[in-house]
Amino acid sequence: MIVLEGLTKRYGTTAVVDAVSITVERDSITAIVGTSGSGKSTLLRMINRLVEPSAGRVWIDGRDTADEPPHLLRRRIGYVIQGNGLFPHRTVAQNVATVPRLLGWSDARIAARTVELLEALQLDPARYAHQYPHALSGGQQQRVGVARALAAEPKVLLMDEPFGALDPILRAKAQEDLLAVRRRFGTTIVLVTHDIDEAFRLGDRIAVMRHGRILQCDRPAALLTRPADPFVAELAGRGDRALRLLSLTTAGDAAEAVPADGADREPVVRIRADATLREALSDLVWRGATRGVVVDPDGTVRGALRVDAILAHGRSC
């Protein structure tokens, strides 16, 4: 758990980050979103003390980060930056081994961990471990950057616009990977982005930042249904907020018990349980159906989903 308490950074008389207090739950993803110049990067960099706060405290699992030399603190915290920052003169394996080496792990332990991480991020160790970064594609480099940040089993991972340099397709893939990595390694993640869609996709909670202040830090749905500020409402998207709300729930969670009258003439639309309601609705509209069947990946029917039930989800949460 990370607790920020009145965290402030002043340059001269301007406060770039102004008395921010938020709590990040263990094993959750918090997305800090804001326009450029909102202070979100500075806020993130105060957590691992790449920027020293002018005032306020940061607690990680009950320990005040100010009590520890900064470089030792940073070895416990994963850090991913935009454009990956891989060392060009070191191989993929050497890059991944950076922090474990600093911590003095044994060679065997480092090798085992490197293989584990590269496999988790779908990079064949036999093929890529001894490559240099310049031989990798942008997406692969980004994954190596994530592997490097996770190498020393940090409980906390900080990500500063980690997918900013990727094209939309690679970016979607990288976001999926990140969710998978989080499920596998159980890491508390704080992620800075200017992309509100990314924040909605990844964040368990979203903190909206403007002029150095947190306007609202809440569950994604609450940002849509109860925005604390006109700026939040605007950022979250007034025009398509209902659709955005639908994208926060999966079909599996919204499925209802199968009704007995299965005898109408409508075509049966099969909806994957892990599809979002937004995708399910789109599919139903496309096929001209008013209801579909939610199926698990193994083919078992989980329940039914009616269009009007989906629409109801778009009005509340």
Binding site: N48, L50, H71, L72, L73, R74, R75, R76, Y79, I81, Q82, G83, G85, L86, F87, P88, H89, T98, V99, L102, Y132, H134, R148, L158
Partner: protein
């Protein structure tokens, strides 16, 4: 064409070695330049020994310049020391603009005749290229890499040693190469204050009005410069390959 270029340093090496080991064989080549009745080949000392002494003095001076210039370059690019960059640059620049001959003249009363004044002059003269290239090489390290190194938890010394210096190494070596080459030529001046070296041959030629001596001293010095240049460039290429920077 490319093969011919690769052979060129080998040719220079062969020519130099042949001349230094058996200079008398080249007598017919230099005879037309010799003063009437004077020997066409330098006969007041062993040319091979002079060449070795010449190279040795250059190596010692360049090594000292490298240690000081790289050290200074690192120091003035560290956090909290950057205000020393401009004064250091002024001093190092002065070391190169101040004529080496004048340095020799000033150093002799202090340290006497021989190798020492020459070393001092070459040391001061060779600082600039190494210093400037060290600074440029360290400045060329992308901010994202420094940020990543800090974010991983490297101490400033670890960051310098395992990220900044390896990436700056090709530039630094280039500076060393430039410094060595200008030192080879400048070291001939050392013979005016009794340092052993090929300058002795040139000065003997000047005082005896024997162009053959001047010519052979000059050519031998030039060939040494070319060989050191090519040798150091080969080292640089090898280093770049090892650390994968193109």
């Amino acid at each position: 064409m490319r093969r011919a270029l690769a052979l060129w340093p080998l040719l220079a090496l062969g020519l130099l070695a042949a001349f230094l080991v058996a200079p008398q064989r080249f007598a017919p080549v230099f005879a037309p330049f010799a003063a009437y009745g004077a020997p066409p080949i330098y006969d007041q000392g062993n040319l091979f020994a002079l060449a070795l002494a010449h190279v040795a003095i250059v190596c010692v001076a360049a090594a000292a310049s490298t240690v000081v210039a790289v050290g200074l370059g690192i120091l003035v690019t560290r956090e909290g020391w950057t205000e020393w960059l401009s004064p250091s640059r002024t001093i190092v620049n002065f070391g190169q603009t101040f004529p080496p001959v004048a340095v020799l003249a000033l150093a002799v009363p202090l340290v006497g005749f021989g190798e020492e004044p020459t070393l001092i002059a070459l040391f001061a003269y060779g600082l600039l290229p190494i210093f400037e290239n060290t600074i440029a090489g360290l400045a060329a390290c992308p901010p994202a890499l420094r940020d990543a190194a800090d974010g991983m938890g490297m101490s400033p010394a670890q960051r310098l040693w395992s990220v900044e210096l390896p990436l700056a190494l090709p530039m630094i070596l280039e500076g060393v190469r430039l410094s060595v080459v200008i030192d080879v030529g400048t070291a001939t001046l050392g013979s005016t204050v009794a340092a052993k070296g090929l300058g002795e041959v040139i000065i003997a030629g000047l005082s005896a009005n024997n162009a053959a001596f001047v010519l052979q001293g000059g050519i031998a010095t030039g060939l040494i410069a070319i060989l050191l240049y090519e040798g150091l460039r080969a080292v640089e290429r090898r280093v770049c390959r090892t650390i994968r920077i193109d």
